[in-house]
Symmetry: C2
Subunit: 140 residues, 2 copies
DNA sequence: GCTTGTTTCTTAGCAAGCTAATAATATATA
DNA sequence: TATATATTATTAGCTTGCTAAGAAACAAGC
């Protein structure tokens, strides 16, 4: 078995295409790839703590901290100390981020369509199910 | 259509699992994830230029330059100016890297097995074919 | 109340991606 | 030959991931 014929080798290649493609798409909105994931969670529930975001995104606290900081520097969010628990910083959406919600969704779905355009509906569904298996099994 | 139910959202999650898992595996050999890809190409043909490596790995020259530099700092490779073309730096394997070849292959195939252990042989083949489609279509 | 441990955030530092810009060399063209 | 263009490598600077180590605040037990 040759290494560059393995599924993981191919997976790494496609992963790269995905990441840079997604990044390029979101940069058009003045945002970066990772930041969009945080906003997405805040659209669902505003004022979440960093640890909540970290758990939901399967990222470490420092990673989230970085992204929140840069979102803050660009006035997309603002952090406030929680009154009930002084350790917690709650992250809140600013108008500039709220305005972008629809545009982000549009771009995201457009990217989704482009990236998977070579697959039929059925194939895409199969891919989804395979990825779910990988996630639930390996992400334990 | 909700964004966190899209295939691209799931893809991002699995991508993360993949990258950190692969990294952890290779760190056990004193190498990092990206460096292993370069060594892999050099095992096939020693003395390649950075631009050749960049093209084959679908990475940019600065990315390759970084990785080659750190491989060099750890005595896995050595770079020499090409005599026929003064712009080109040819990258050569050092004994320390050659010794690791079999171990890397072993680790890689082990990771491959672990990461895709939730899939049957058939499912893995299907995944491979779907990824190939994505690669050949989106990576144009 | 004090100590001990836990949780949350933060900082520092690194790898691996990228873009943009520069230097050095080759090549092609006038 | 001289000038313009290509190519290769590099540097600087950014985002997104990580780990390790620290600070600050809370919770529990003595």
């Amino acid at each position: 078995m040759n290494i560059n014929e393995t599924t993981s080798y191919l997976f790494a290649e496609v992963t790269n295409l995905y990441r840079t493609g997604f990044e390029k798409t979101m940069v058009e909105l003045g945002l970066h790839g990772g930041q969009v994931f945080i906003l997405q969670l805040l659209y669902i529930e505003d004022g979440q703590s960093q640890i909540e975001l970290a758990l939901k995104l399967n990222n470490t606290p420092p990673t989230i901290n970085n992204m929140v900081k840069s979102l803050q520097n660009n006035s997309f969010v603002k952090s406030r100390k929680c009154k009930k628990d002084g350790r917690v910083m709650r992250v809140f959406l600013m108008p500039q981020a709220i305005e972008l919600q629809e545009e982000i969704k549009r771009k995201w779905l457009q990217f989704e369509e482009d990236f998977f355009s070579s697959l039929t509906i059925t194939e895409k569904l199969v891919l989804f199910q395979l990825l779910e298996k990988l996630k639930s099994d390996f992400g334990k």
